[in-house]
Symmetry: C2
């Protein structure tokens, strides 16, 4: 079976749990006033593949039955993610997200900031109703970490000399942390041993790194129709991603000059951008970045191997393979 | 003793508690990375008169000793307030807040949105450490209500026909709710009876309404040097406040035409704006609005009177008097 087939099967198995997640989100975003419910409906409708709740549900099935508590945790994590997407869109002035107009394009920055706040506040309200103080402490800290990662990323815009360690610090904070914390809590709430919980959290953290690296690759060479959001925004916003770091590392003076020209300002010449994309492919930097993503998935698998059954490891392997192979 | 003298004495009594609140806020906003700690320092430095934590501390003293728990609650409520200020500044493009450059003027909208998120996430993290589920449930709901109030206000921009009920709904949601919830929780955590807790929450809700009405009056006729923030923004942003509603209610066709001209667009003629400000004073609308604020303070006093001692009622009366008399 291919990874996609495995994943399709996984989503089929998780369908009842994901339906519960969707119900929790829809209920949490209900509002009396039409102005608010319209806004909230727009957010919940642009929920995508729901990989975070799927991972959370999947992990819980490794330790027992996926309970209503787990569906609620999945809903909270997805809502936190949605809130950050809404705020990201304000910031990046992106116009397209998951094939739908972004909230900011439709409702303006004013209401997008407030809507993100509402989604976040309601996520934490739902989390409070879970009544688990560990989940509250970890997830609220993860939200702060996530935003700090975004700020650090901003400080390094157009920084062609960004150190690899800082790059990893940024994607760890802005993406991997929420995966790791969510997965660890899923294990925690499902009665896993502390060792298994920590292993699963490491696995999901590595998955998050791989996800972000793959996502950055898609931003460079993906198809907007397939991915369903504006692409190429990393180059124009001056975001140094792994393929660029790897190209830089090869030390070719011509490539370096090209990279500096493209990253220097938003309106780089189209010919330079196209040449850079070509060089990223020719030099093997894009492939190497994807290999790094594969390496993270493997490290994640190595972390769980001593603590989970072979059957459970296989279940998680399919998710990792999907993340590095996805085209959307 | 004048109300201001009463209040000065109150702040003196509360000084040790307020110092604990400040310490809690400073600790909650600590960060390893200089980029983040710089941003956070800017926020904590523009904390103003800290009326919300002062009210919370004061209420706790009516029922017993102000504990570390109460200082933490005060810090959480002030941080929620600060987070909304940071996001408000993004939205309103205000350039001055409490005599300091706003975060958005100094760091840009990008980082202001994220900084507001960080302050909010860390407030809720601190709240989680309080370990009181009632506080979590009520405060996270209050944050959502607050943002919903801001959105409704935005939907009624330049709406000269805004109904009085909608106006009250807006200021209740965006301002009074957090006062009411914070005060109710202060009583709750200090061992008050449910009746006293509810009475105190009503008192603080009315105080919040009075505070907002007075604040809107200051925006029209206050002095920027005294108030320490950009004024006159309500008129240019088309926000209908109580003095305008009251002037409209007098039904003078000339005033109504003037009001519609000023509210129609951001760049109304200076002569029209000045004429409107004059008419708000001449017609008594400004004074009537302030009388309404006084009425709310009185309703709040009436709510506590059956449940609190005369001494306690007097303590709270000074706060109400300050709110309607303040010039800053």
């Amino acid at each position: 079976m291919t990874a996609t087939a495995h994943l399709r099967e996984m989503y089929k198995d998780l369908a009842p749990g994901l339906a519960m997640v969707d119900e929790e989100i829809a209920r949490a975003l209900e509002a009396d006033h039409p102005a608010i419910s319209d806004l909230c409906a727009h957010v919940s409708a642009y929920s995508g593949k729901r990989l975070r709740p799927a991972v959370i549900l999947l992990i819980s099935t490794l330790f027992g039955e996926a309970s209503a508590k787990i569906a609620r945790l999945g809903a909270v994590v997805e809502m936190i993610h949605l809130a950050t997407l809404v705020h990201d869109d304000v910031i990046d002035e992106a116009s397209l997200r998951r094939g739908k107009a972004t909230v900011s394009a439709r409702f303006g920055n004013f209401e997008s900031v407030l809507l993100g706040d509402i989604v976040f506040a309601r996520a934490i309200h739902l989390l409070s109703r879970l009544g688990d103080s560990t989940a509250l402490l970890r997830l609220t800290r993860a939200v702060s970490t996530l935003c700090e990662g975004e700020i650090l990323q901003n400080r390094h815009r157009r920084d062609v000399d960004l150190a690899a360690a800082d790059y990893y610090r940024i994607i760890g904070a802005k993406t991997a942390e929420l995966y790791g914390v969510g997965a660890g809590l899923a294990a925690h709430l499902s009665g896993a041993t502390p060792e298994a919980e920590e292993a699963v959290a490491s696995w999901a953290y590595e998955l998050g790194l791989a996800f972000q690296i793959a996502d950055d690759g898609l931003d460079l060479v993906g198809s907007e129709a397939e991915v369903g959001k504006s692409l190429g925004t990393d180059l124009s916003s001056g975001k140094m991603t792994l393929p660029l770091l790897l190209l830089r590392g090869q030390g070719d003076p011509g490539d370096l000059a090209l990279l500096r020209r493209v990253m220097a300002q938003p309106g780089a010449a189209d010919s330079d951008r196209e040449r850079l994309l070509l060089r990223l492919q020719e030099s093997g930097s894009l492939d190497q970045a994807l290999q790094k993503a594969v390496g993270h998935v493997q490290r994640g698998q190595a972390a769980i191997q001593p603590f989970l059954s072979e059957w459970a490891c296989e279940k998680l392997r399919a998710v990792g393979e999907f993340v590095v192979q996805r085209r959307q």
